[in-house]
Symmetry: C2
Subunit: 338 residues, 2 copies
């Protein structure tokens, strides 16, 4: 026998409260006693209650939520623009939340989102725990994750870019220039995209038959300070690398500084590849060779997916990965003569 | 006899519609015939109807609007962070709108804002026309302008920084280093803040008794391309400047490129001062001497002012200007020997 699709009335009956009380909890209203609220949430989750998602996209005052783990970089700006360029013309307001460096929103944030009743949520480098996912699902609020930082739970829609390919093409470029001792200052070890880039770096070595030296591979945090610190450590090694793949453009800036302080010229003494192709990198001194991620397109695609889900449509694919490309500028050159 | 304070009932009677119809127009609902709506708007404006502004700041689902003329730069990111850091802890959602480079929102945007009923609006380098101002006022939606780009209408609250002082201290620093031929690539001529910076530059010359040469003063647009183009033109003059005040950090990047292409070293052959102290400038090559505007504080203060106004409070001052400071780094040095 097929399970009956749960209704608000069924939930109310089981908890022993009125239908309006269940509605209040679903709409994030604060005028429900915490104990009652917890019981309602528990029964909603047990029955996997789902509010119908198909809504009119034409009513006014509509919102979409954009959640960014940290709005500290130009990188975040590109993603914000990508969401704005889709939401703006559709007259959908974009509510921006910054998690202050955390990768998971606090429960109050979820409560506020439920009260705002947005069409959906775009998460950037951030994710929900199981309970938070269930809460959004029961309210019929769809979401899409851009550039996943961890394992992707079943059924969650994601938009990413091919980070493995990015690491591969950056490293192949350096190998083609004759470099054989290529250091890497990667992003954080606990973020999937930085691990994928390092694996691409490894594969490029494998296919060229070059032995990897773990002594010249380091994990950073995407910031200039990390590039400065780890880049400096690599350049102080007795047998220093002739090229460094910096894992992010901001880290590359730190490596430039470390090289300068040691009297090393770029690209004559050290070749350097960044990652992200931030708008400013073509104006750097020297202009930076880097890997382009289509950040605006990724965010725009995630926004369109959320709007499709909000209209009750089923997107053709659950996980989409956009391509990465190498942009060759002035920071890479032939390996220096020994 | 004092004029009677207009009520919704009075407005409805005068237009010849029902009270709910006037309410719908006030709340940005779209289910009112355009002709009726126009008549209601006209009578609301004529009577200067004002919805009471004092609202609870404690109900959930509350929003504040942030309007940025162009989210193209790191500069915008700093302002967004300033708003987030005040709104986030207060659990107020920030709706971000980008005007795509325009300095005035379209009417549809105003309609959507009225439907969203935010606590208030923070405008950055953007402003409203008289009709739009009246529409927000009649809905009891207060607003504050950050870094005004034009003349400030009476009664509009603003938060800025002391741009005149910024131009003054940047130029004084160069004069103290012995420079007498100091070029300027300013921001756009039609934006008040860039004119104030140029006036500070002039005053520093006046107080040092140095004659200004209009041939080495140019208006740009705050972007790297403008710094490259106008900086290059200044450096190609028969009697080129020994220092350039670049009006923005992004323009300074363009001047660096122009100098490099002409074989000029910074600061040995050319001293350079930027404006904004973007986070990336300390990592540039050379690190940039620049003027700090407290962008995050300005945006945070504007947000607090909006929240005060939303609670019916009267802020102690209508126009607030925060201080600017010089940050001396590696791009400025003594005037080269003739």
């Amino acid at each position: 026998m097929a399970a009956e699709r749960p209704t608000i009335a069924m939930i109310a009956r089981e908890v022993g409260v009125s239908v309006p009380t269940v509605s209040k909890v679903l709409n994030g209203r604060t005028d429900v006693a915490p104990a009652t609220r917890a019981r309602v949430e528990e029964v909603l989750a047990r029955h996997q209650y789902r509010k119908p998602t198909a809504r009119s996209l034409t009513r006014s005052g509509r919102l979409i939520e954009l959640v960014i783990h940290e709005a500290d970089t130009i990188w975040a700006m590109e993603l914000i623009k990508g969401v704005e360029r889709v939401a703006g013309p559709a007259r959908i307001g974009v509510v921006l939340s910054e998690l202050g460096g955390s990768h998971r929103p606090r429960q109050e944030w979820i409560d506020d989102v439920m009260a705002r009743r947005p069409l959906g949520v775009v998460f950037v480098l951030s994710e929900l725990d199981g309970r938070q996912r269930e809460q959004l699902a029961s309210r019929g609020i769809p979401y899409v994750v851009v550039d996943t930082q961890g394992e992707i739970p079943r059924g969650v829609h994601t938009v990413g870019s091919n980070n493995w390919n990015g690491g591969l093409i950056a490293t192949r470029h350096l190998i083609a220039l004759g470099h054989r001792r290529i250091g890497v200052v990667a992003g954080p070890r606990d973020i999937l995209c930085s691990r994928a880039r390092v694996d691409g770096y490894r594969s490029a070595h494998d296919e060229a038959g070059i032995q990897l030296d773990p002594a010249i591979a380091r994990w950073g945090n995407f910031r200039s300070e990390a590039g400065y610190e780890h880049g400096g450590a690599l350049l102080d090694l007795p047998e220093r690398p002739t090229a460094i793949f910096a894992g992010s453009d901001l880290q590359a800036l730190g490596v430039v500084r470390a090289a300068q302080e040691r009297g090393l010229r770029i690209p004559e003494d050290l070749s350097l590849v960044g990652y992200d192709n931030l708008p400013i990198t073509e104006w750097l001194n020297p202009p930076l060779t880097t890997v382009t991620q289509p950040l605006q397109e990724m965010a725009g695609l995630a926004t369109r997916l959320v709007l499709e889900l909000a209209q009750g449509e089923t997107p053709s694919s659950t996980h989409v990965e956009l391509g990465t490309e190498l942009v060759v500028r002035g920071s890479t050159g032939p390996v220096p003569a020994a």
